[in-house]
């Protein structure tokens, strides 16, 4: 049985994520247990870790650090043991060294880079970037495979992760310039868009994550 720790830190639509992960697990068969948790022992032993996150970088960062032992347990599981990790939206942005939403806030620093205001070339383009946009896959990756040609996924955000190394950008989106839609490094992936709200494409991506062996 596979154990998924869905990190509960008072941020994000954990219910939607939990149900979407369950649907993805169903599509694969086998037994998957999804646990919404902030218990360091559960996180440390989990086979996979999912970090959701909606809203404000600084609020999410302080919410995460406010749960005793959670960051350390995530780090033990992901960085030391190599458990596959998926961060979504602000949960992905938190992978950066620093977020710049209303002042500088330290991130996890697992993928070097910063989270900057989304600034399209065309000032007429609305911010937040909200709705369905096409993914362009920059690097072949198991988690982002089999999604069809130019898959559309659901975004809603005003800030973007800008990794130091282009090699960490797994997929991008176009909105008055190209920006990181997904990042990947070793056993860590993150999506700026919401797979749990991206209908069939999103469920497929989550199923890819659940069967991924980095």
């Amino acid at each position: 049985m596979s154990q998924i720790a869905l990190i509960d830190y008072g941020s994000g639509n954990v219910r939607s994520m939990s149900r979407a992960l369950a649907a993805a697990a169903d599509s694969l068969g086998g037994t998957t247990l999804i646990t919404l948790t902030d218990d360091p022992d559960v996180i440390r032993k989990a086979d996979r870790i999912v970090l959701p996150g909606v809203g404000h970088f600084a609020d999410c960062a302080s919410g995460l650090r406010g749960r005793p032992g959670v960051v350390e347990a995530m780090s033990d599981a992901v960085r030391k043991r190599g458990a596959p990790f998926l961060g979504v939206c602000v949960g992905m942005q938190l992978l950066a060294d620093v977020g710049r939403e209303d002042g500088d806030t330290e991130g996890l620093g697992w993928i070097p880079g910063s989270v900057e205001p989304l600034a399209p070339d065309d000032p007429q383009l609305p911010i937040p970037h909200m709705g369905w946009n096409e993914l362009s896959i920059d690097h072949e990756h198991e988690v982002f495979s089999g999604l069809g040609a130019s898959p559309n996924v659901y975004f809603t955000h005003s800030y973007v992760f800008s990794p130091e190394s282009a090699a960490d950008v797994a997929a991008s989106f176009s909105y008055g310039g190209n920006f990181a839609a997904a990042v990947a490094r070793d056993n860590v992936v993150g999506t700026q868009f919401h797979p749990e709200k991206s209908q069939a494409v999103g469920i497929r991506l989550l199923a890819n994550f659940l069967s991924w062996s980095p």
Binding site: V14, A23, L125, S150, N152, S158, Y175, Q199, A200
Partner: protein, 263 residues
């Protein structure tokens, strides 16, 4: 390229859909969750639930509707009706909504938008504006369109965005239910003063109207209720009309049930 969103809107009262709904082959037309599923399968880009009871009992029923919908439809949900505080927003988001529309409470006390944005992020805060034409201006109404406020809609839209609204749901009360088409000058007037996405609402009578809201009104999303509920315009027809008018829409082939297209 970002796609124009097509958003069916369901009015919910004590957990049931009101306004007539006439879907072929749908047994329980009053259950909002069944309707949500049907629209999901037809490729809606987003769904909007408006709680028109906005009472305590209605609120509990609404949370239940959101939860049951979010359990089955992996698509964006916007919810509104009777939202008075950031805590109300948190409850809706916790149930599975992605965005929460606020109206009366934010018109009465615009600063509430700041605390909402700080709590849930501005991308989740939708300012729902119900407006009525007054000469060449528009007036903001509250309490489901019952209370005139004397506030200028264009100035208020600008202020709402400055304070924390991440999207404007702009309803023309003059056009709502008339099927005469959207109020294009209204859409343009708000577009000129805000940088956030605008959802056009009120007046959709056919697929061509939806296209006009985008090509002439420069709306980012179009919302409609009865033309979809009564099958006068299918989502496929809406998509086709928008595409023909030059708007970018999500291709139908990319849409399917969770078990379908992704295989």
């Amino acid at each position: 390229m970002l796609k124009t969103r097509i958003i069916p809107c369901l009015d919910v009262k004590n957990g049931r859909t009101v306004k007539g709904v006439n879907f072929v082959g749908l047994r329980d037309a009053g259950d909002p969750v069944a309707l949500a599923k049907a629209y999901d399968e037809q490729g809606a880009d987003e769904l909007c639930f408006l709680d028109i009871t906005a009472s305590v009992e209605g609120r509990g029923a609404m949370i239940d509707v959101i939860e049951r919908t979010a359990d089955q439809c992996f698509m964006p949900l916007t919810v509104g009706g009777g939202v008075r505080s950031a805590d109300d927003m948190v409850a809706m988001l916790g149930a599975g909504a992605d965005k929460v529309a606020i109206n009366t409470a934010a018109v009465d006390n615009p600063d509430i938008l700041r605390s909402c944005a700080r709590k849930v992020g501005r991308q989740a805060v939708v300012m729902a504006l119900d407006v009525k034409r007054r000469g060449d201006q528009w007036e903001v109404f509250t309490h489901g369109g019952r209370t005139p406020t004397g506030k200028d809609a264009i100035a208020f839209a600008r202020r709402a965005v400055e304070l924390g609204a991440g999207e404007i749901l702009l309803t023309s009360m003059d056009r709502d239910g008339t099927k005469e088409g959207f109020d294009i000058p209204l859409l343009r007037a708000v577009r000129d003063v805000v940088t956030v996405p605008i959802i056009a609402s009120g007046g959709a009578g056919n697929a061509r109207h939806l296209a006009e809201a985008v090509t002439e009104g420069l709306a980012d999303a179009v919302l409609a209720a009865s033309i979809f509920h009564f099958g006068e315009c299918t989502l496929a027809e809406a998509r086709a009309a928008l595409a023909e008018a030059g708007a970018s829409v999500r291709p139908f082939s990319a849409i399917g049930s969770a078990a379908g297209e992704a295989r």
